[in-house]
Symmetry: none
Subunit: 213 residues, 4 copies
DNA sequence: CATGAATGAGCGTTCATTCAT
DNA sequence: CATGAATGAACGCTCATTCAT
């Protein structure tokens, strides 16, 4: 494809193609942006700071993104993809202790900043239709994930009646999100606390159970 | 010459004293700031926008606050006070359906932006010791409130063992906070969803109950 | 006008009249301005700083002066008067050592900031005709003072020919002014240096002496 | 496409490199700053005015200097360099009439604003250590220059005793500085006046001459 | 494609000034 | 007369963005 691979002068690490180079630039910028948006917020994050942290110059940014909003959108999309990619592993966790497993996973992860990204995204929505749509997609797909977990549920989990199903999904997401936010605010949230939270919601006493005929 | 003291019509609107005037200015600026901080974030909120919305000039702001950070701090403190003032009413809710009552209250309130304030406060904390302290006070006092509710609990609520008590408190706060955040993000959170959430956590099946002798 | 002076109830320190009060306010503001203008320059001096240092509020300033320029003008005029008032003492110095005496006087005075005032005045002149005029009056009157010293001169001083007379006056003023400025810049100027300077100019070897018939 | 390298006409104006461009921008900004600082003072000089006069936008300034103080420092340093570069010419002036020569040179120069720069520098010194140091270097190096002139002196100049040497140097600098300042204030200082001043100081009658064995 | 000098809008803040008290 | 809250112009500076190199 590129001229590099045609020269048979040994198997030495061939020079990267342009496309690869640029892909890496994008990736690094996105990674840097994740940190900076989380710590400074969207408005507070300067492009200089992002590019500096990524080891590039201001111009590199404008070669890859049209503006700051696009970067946030792209970053959010990437994060959504990452999350989706990890889900199967969690879903595959041993059945006997699904909740504890999930609680531990949610606790051990490095500081989650996704919540903060969502907050920024919500801020962009008034002036950016893209942001509005992406935000909706993000929340919907996350709710979908939770729904999938419920599907896999055996008798240890609730089997809510149809009218409560969506509500339950939302409640679970609220619990997870709230926990992440509190942790960001400095409140200690250990695995057991997470377990209390998840188990409680999944077995909420007020839940109308599905009537199995 | 002035009508204030000479008119004997009892409570006739006398001209405001300077202190009163200024208090109103402060209050209006704080109210305007609440909206603007919520919709634009701390960095994105310009003082011009805040003062305009409050109906004052830029300078009025600087007659009342030393800088933008102080305004956020003051606003957060005021909100904390407001919250504390409403608590007794909720605590006094009918015993039979304490949870449903709380769920409804949390749902019916006008859009809560306190979570967003907390996020902004968290951002200031690195450069502002005051923000750090205020944030800690806010989370602590809110946790304290939740704790109070548990104290009033009768048998309909959990009576957790000591080692779970604090965890339960945090879990409840996470649930409430998460729900507020999701609602802000556009996810519908109705009273029943809130009830699922609260009741679940308060009666978490994994909770080690206090052993009553 | 005020009731203070009409009541003959003993000779107790009577309350100051309004005019006296105001005169003191003016005087204190002017004194404070002298310091602040010297250390911060005209533009760098804020009215707040001046009034604070004088122990008054912002409003007191506007009750006494129409704007900042007027204060500088007034201050400069006052200083000119002060200077004129001290001159006789110097002129009266013993004849034998007039130069040494003057040198010592110029050295011992507290840090002179008059030069700095002149610089500020020069800056105002483009937009303020008053400043232009006052500046001219200040330099002229100071030159006049130097001229007076020359008049009193006996044989120990130069008796320049008419065409050098004005030049000599200017040269002396340049010497004094330059010395004051250098001292402000941190260069040490002791009494002997001043003497070298003054004596030199007054007995300049290139001076065309008046031909006495 | 571009004429730069393809035209073989030797010194044909090739397109400037970026470094050259920026150097010119810096130089023009510094030149403009010289005028504006002199006429408005440091505080009174707005960056807008400086950049406008230099024909650039506000931002060009911040691409080249970190802040206003740095510009003053840089300008002062440049001026010091310029001065040092002219000195040899003056020192090379004909021996017979060194003083007259110097007097004429000091008189004919375009309006000197160096004194004013020194005043501004003195103002910065409290908050800017750099300013303090630069000011000291400026006065020291100028004193050094004067000292060099004395070294070159033949019998037409004074050969002061050691203890008067430094004092003489300072006195001469005071004379020159004072003359420059008075001229700025509107007092006419012609070449003859300068000569009176310089010759006088250099042959001050109170000077203790070095004893030549 | 990446660089970084230059642009210019916009922001936080200061400050001279006004005016109701 | 003095006070100080409020005004609003101006300033120093930041930063998203452009574009010649």
């Amino acid at each position: 494809m590129s001229a590099d691979t045609t020269d048979g002068h040994g198997a030495g690490r061939r020079r990267r193609t342009r496309a690869e180079q640029q892909a890496e630039t994008r990736a690094r910028l996105i990674e840097a942006a994740a940190e900076v948006f989380a710590s400074h917020g969207f408005e507070g994050a300067s492009i200089d700071l992002i590019t500096e942290r990524a080891g590039y110059s201001r111009g590199a940014f404008y070669s890859n993104f049209s503006d700051k909003a696009e970067l946030l959108l792209e970053l959010s999309a990437v994060r959504m993809g990452d999350f989706a990619r990890v889900l199967p592993d969690i879903l595959a966790a041993s059945d006997e202790d699904r909740i504890g497993e999930a609680a531990r996973w949610l606790t051990d992860q490095p500081p989650h900043t996704e919540v903060l990204l969502l907050v920024e995204l919500a801020r962009l929505r008034d002036e950016h239709t893209d942001a509005q749509q992406l935000l909706a997609r993000l929340t919907d797909s996350t709710l979908g994930f939770v729904d999938d977990v419920l599907d896999e549920a055996d008798e240890t989990l609730a089997t809510p009646a149809a009218h409560d199903r969506l509500r339950l999904t939302r409640a679970i997401l609220a619990a997870i999100t709230g926990a992440q936010l509190l942790r960001h605010l400095g409140v200690e949230m250990d695995a057991r606390t997470m377990e209390l939270l998840l188990a409680g919601v999944l077995r909420s006493p007020v839940l109308t159970e599905e009537t199995v005929s």
